[in-house]
C-alpha cells in the first residue's frame, strides 16, 4: 500500500460513482447513477425494494460488475477490481458471521488476509470489539450472540481491516425495533469515530433520516433527490420523494395560473410545468392546522376528528372531511384541544406543494 493510504487511514476517502448502469436480463436495475461521497461522509441510499439501491452498493463492493460507468475510491479507478482487492468493509442484512469462528476469530480473519502480523491482529481485534462494546464477548460463537450483537461483531469485522469505504446493506432490517434504534445510533457513533466514508442502504426512511449526513432517494434505478435529511423531508424535489419520505396527504385540487386550489385554499407550486386542470396536491401533515369550528356552516375544510395519535411532543390527528381523510400533525398541547368526535376547521399553510404525477410507467425523458 502507498504512503497516501496510510496517511488517509483514519481520514476517510472520497468515493465517486460515475454514471453506473446495470441491467439483469433486460431489466434495468440501475440507470446511470452518479453520486459522490465526501471523505468521511455517511450517505444513505433510500428507496423501495427494487429501486436499485442494493445493486448500487454491490457495484461499489465489487460483488457485481457494472454494464457501464466507473467507481472511484480517492481518485483511483477500482471498477475492474474484484471484491477481494477493493478494501471495502461490508455489513450485510443477513447474519454473516462465520459460524465456526468466535467473534474475535471473525475479526482477525480479514486481518490475516491483509497480512497483518499476529500480535497486531489480536490488538486490533480487541480494539475494534471494544469500539462496538463487545470486548466481553470475544470468545463467543455467532450462535451464542443475539442478533444485535452479531451485527455489531460484523461491524467490527468490517472496520478492523481499516477499509476505504464502509458499506452497510440494510444491517438493521433483521433486528427488532428496540435493538434497531440502539444499534442505529451506535453505528453512527462508530462511523464518526472511525471517520470512514460510508454508504448505507436502507428502505427505512426513519433510519436514513436519523443517521446519514445526506440521503439519496432512489426510484426505478435513478437518484430522485440527494440532500440533507431536512431538505429531503421539508423540500422534496419530486412527488415520489414527497410520498416515499414521511406521511403525505393526497388532496385533489385544480391547477391554474401557477397555483393549485385545494378545497378553497390556494397553494403555490414547487414544480413549474404542471399542466392546468385537476391535480392531486401533496400536503405534509405539518402544514395542516386545526381550529375549533366557530359557526356550524359546512365548508370544504370542516370535518370531524376521528383519531388522535400521541407521538410524544407532537400528535397526529386524523380528520374526516366527509369525502376524504386528512392527517394533521401539531404540538400535543394543541392537539389535545380537539379530542376525537369534535368538529374542527382545517387550514392549510401556503407552503409550496408538489402535484402528484399520474400513476404511469416511470419512463419520462
Amino acid at each position: 500500500m502507498t504512503a497516501a493510504n496510510s496517511a488517509t487511514d483514519r481520514a476517510g476517502v472520497e468515493v465517486r460513482l460515475e454514471n453506473l448502469r446495470r441491467s439483469y436480463a433486460g431489466v434495468t436495475a440501475l440507470d446511470g447513477l452518479s453520486l459522490t461521497l465526501a471523505p468521511g461522509e455517511m450517505v444513505a441510499l433510500l428507496g423501495p425494494s427494487g429501486c436499485g439501491k442494493t445493486t448500487a452498493m454491490r457495484l461499489v463492493a465489487g460483488l457485481e460488475e457494472a454494464n457501464s460507468g466507473r467507481v472511484m475510491f480517492g481518485g483511483k479507478d477500482v471498477t475492474g477490481l474484484p471484491a477481494s482487492k477493493r478494501d471495502v468493509g461490508m455489513v450485510f442484512q443477513a447474519y454473516s458471521l462465520f459460524p465456526h469462528m468466535t467473534a474475535e476469530q471473525n475479526v482477525t480473519f480479514g486481518l490475516s488476509l491483509h497480512k497483518v502480523g499476529a500480535a497486531e491482529r489480536t490488538r486490533r481485534a480487541a480494539e475494534t470489539l471494544e469500539l462496538v462494546g463487545l470486548s466481553a464477548y470475544a470468545k463467543r460463537y455467532a450462535h451464542q450472540l443475539s442478533g444485535g450483537q452479531q451485527q455489531r461483531v460484523a461491524l467490527a469485522r468490517a472496520l478492523a481491516i481499516r477499509p476505504t469505504v464502509l458499506l452497510l446493506d440494510e444491517p438493521l432490517s433483521a433486528l427488532d425495533a428496540k435493538v434497531r434504534y440502539r444499534l442505529r445510533d451506535e453505528i453512527r457513533r462508530v462511523q464518526l469515530e472511525a471517520g470512514v466514508t460510508t454508504l448505507f442502504v436502507t428502505h427505512d426512511q426513519e433510519e436514513a433520516l436519523a443517521i446519514a449526513d445526506r440521503v439519496g432517494v432512489m426510484n426505478a434505478g435513478r437518484l430522485e433527490q440527494l440532500g440533507s435529511p431536512t431538505e429531503i423531508y421539508s423540500r422534496p424535489a419530486t412527488p415520489f420523494v414527497a410520498e416515499f419520505v414521511g406521511l403525505t396527504n393526497r388532496i385533489p385540487g385544480t391547477v391554474k395560473f401557477g397555483m393549485v386550489e385545494v378545497r378553497g385554499t390556494e397553494l403555490p407550486l414547487v414544480q413549474r410545468d404542471v399542466p392546468t386542470g385537476p391535480g392531486i396536491a401533496l400536503v405534509r401533515p405539518e402544514a395542516v392546522s386545526l381550529a375549533s369550528e366557530g359557526e356550524s356552516v359546512p365548508g370544504p375544510l370542516i370535518g370531524t376528528v376521528i383519531a388522535v395519535a400521541f407521538l410524544g411532543a407532537t400528535s397526529r390527528v386524523t380528520v374526516d372531511l366527509g369525502d376524504m381523510i386528512v392527517l394533521a400533525q401539531l404540538p400535543t398541547a394543541l392537539a389535545s384541544e380537539h379530542p376525537a368526535g369534535t368538529r374542527v376547521r382545517l387550514s392549510i399553510r401556503p407552503d409550496p406543494v408538489l402535484i402528484a404525477r399520474e400513476e404511469k410507467a416511470p419512463v419520462e425523458p
Binding site: A61, G62, L63, P82, A83, S84, K85, R86, D87, V88, G89, M90, F92, A94, Y95, S96, F98, P99, H100, F109, G110, L113, H114, Y141, H143, Q144, L145, S146, G147, Q149, A154, R157, A158, I161, L167
Partner: protein, 279 residues
C-alpha cells in the same frame, strides 16, 4: 401429554426399535453363526473361516484395492462436486436443476446398462492409460454422485453460502480461501456424510468390477465363496462391521460443536440444528 399416552408412545418406540433391530441384526448374527460352523453339522465351532481371510492373499489384495478405491473415489467426488455445487449456487443458480438432474441420473440407470455403456471407455483406458484396478474409481465416481450430491446439497442449504462468501470476499479472501476457510469448515458433517456414503457404495460394489474384470472386495468374496462358503460369509460380516464402525466414527467426528446455548430462541433447521423433537 398425559401419562398413559406417554407410556403408549414409549412402548411403540421400543417395539419399532426392537423389530427393526432384529431385522438388521438377525441376518448378521446368522451369518456370523454360519461362518463359525465346522465342515459338518456335528463338528465343533471353529474360527477357521475367519483366519482364512488373512491366509488368502487374493482376498487381502482385494480388500486393500477396495479401500484404496473408496478413498480415491471420495476425494475425487469432493474435488469435483463441492466447488461445482458452490459455484452453481452462487453464480449460475439457473443451472441448479440441471446439475441436480445430472447427478441423480446414475441412480435411474441400472448398473448393468451403465457397464455396457462404459465398457469401451474402460477398454480404451486399459490400453492407453493404466491397467490397475484404481482406474475403476473413474466409474465409481459416477456411481456415488447421487448419494454425495444429496448429502452435500443438504449441507449447503443449511448455511447461507452467498452471504458468507460475500463477507469473506469483502474482507479480502480469494475463491480458494472462501472454499477452504469458510465453506468447508461450516459443512464438515455434510462432507463426512458424503464421504461415508461414497465409501459404503464403493465397498459394496460388485457389478462394475465383475463385468469389467477387476477384482475388488465383492468380486473376491464371490470367488472365495465358490471354494469356502464360510470364508466368504466371514469377509462379508467383516466388511459390514467395518462399514458400521466407519459410520460410528464419522458420526462422532461429524457432530457439530455445542450449539445449544443460543442467545436467541432461533433454531437452525437441518443438520446443524438440534434433532427434531427436542424441546
Amino acid at each position: 401429554m398425559n401419562r398413559s399416552r406417554r407410556i403408549k408412545l414409549q412402548i411403540f418406540r421400543a417395539t419399532v426399535f426392537l423389530v427393526l433391530g432384529a431385522f438388521f441384526l438377525v441376518p448378521i448374527g446368522a451369518m456370523f453363526e454360519f461362518s463359525t460352523r465346522g465342515n459338518s453339522v456335528s463338528a465343533p465351532r471353529t474360527l477357521e473361516a475367519w483366519t482364512n481371510i488373512v491366509k488368502t492373499p487374493d482376498l487381502i489384495d482385494a480388500i486393500v484395492a477396495s479401500l484404496e478405491l473408496a478413498a480415491i473415489t471420495s476425494v475425487a467426488m469432493l474435488v469435483l462436486l463441492l466447488p461445482t455445487m458452490v459455484w452453481v449456487r452462487l453464480r449460475l443458480p439457473g443451472l441448479n436443476r440441471i446439475v441436480e438432474f445430472l447427478c441423480l441420473l446414475p441412480l435411474t440407470i441400472p448398473a448393468i446398462a451403465l457397464v455396457v455403456g462404459l465398457y469401451p471407455i474402460s477398454r480404451w483406458m486399459r490400453i492407453n492409460l493404466n491397467e490397475s484396478i484404481q482406474m475403476l474409481s473413474v466409474f465409481y465416481l459416477i456411481l456415488v454422485l447421487p448419494y454425495s450430491y444429496r448429502a452435500l446439497d443438504a449441507g449447503l442449504s443449511a448455511i447461507d453460502i452467498k452471504t458468507l462468501s460475500e463477507a469473506a470476499r469483502s474482507l479480502g479472501a480469494g475463491w480458494g480461501t472462501v472454499m477452504l476457510r469458510v465453506i468447508v469448515p461450516n459443512m464438515s458433517s455434510a462432507i463426512l456424510n458424503a464421504c461415508l456414503l461414497s465409501v459404503a457404495v464403493v465397498l459394496g460394489e460388485y457389478t462394475f468390477a465383475n463385468l469389467l474384470a477387476y477384482e475388488n472386495l465383492q468380486v473376491a468374496i464371490a470367488y472365495v465363496g465358490l471354494v469356502s462358503a464360510g470364508t466368504s460369509i466371514a469377509v462379508s460380516v467383516a466388511s459390514l462391521l467395518f462399514a458400521f464402525a466407519l459410520l460410528m466414527i464419522l458420526s462422532f467426528f461429524g457432530r457439530p460443536r455445542d450449539r445449544v446455548a443460543r442467545a436467541e430462541e432461533t433454531v437452525i433447521p437441518g443438520p446443524l440444528g438440534p434433532p427434531i423433537g427436542v424441546k
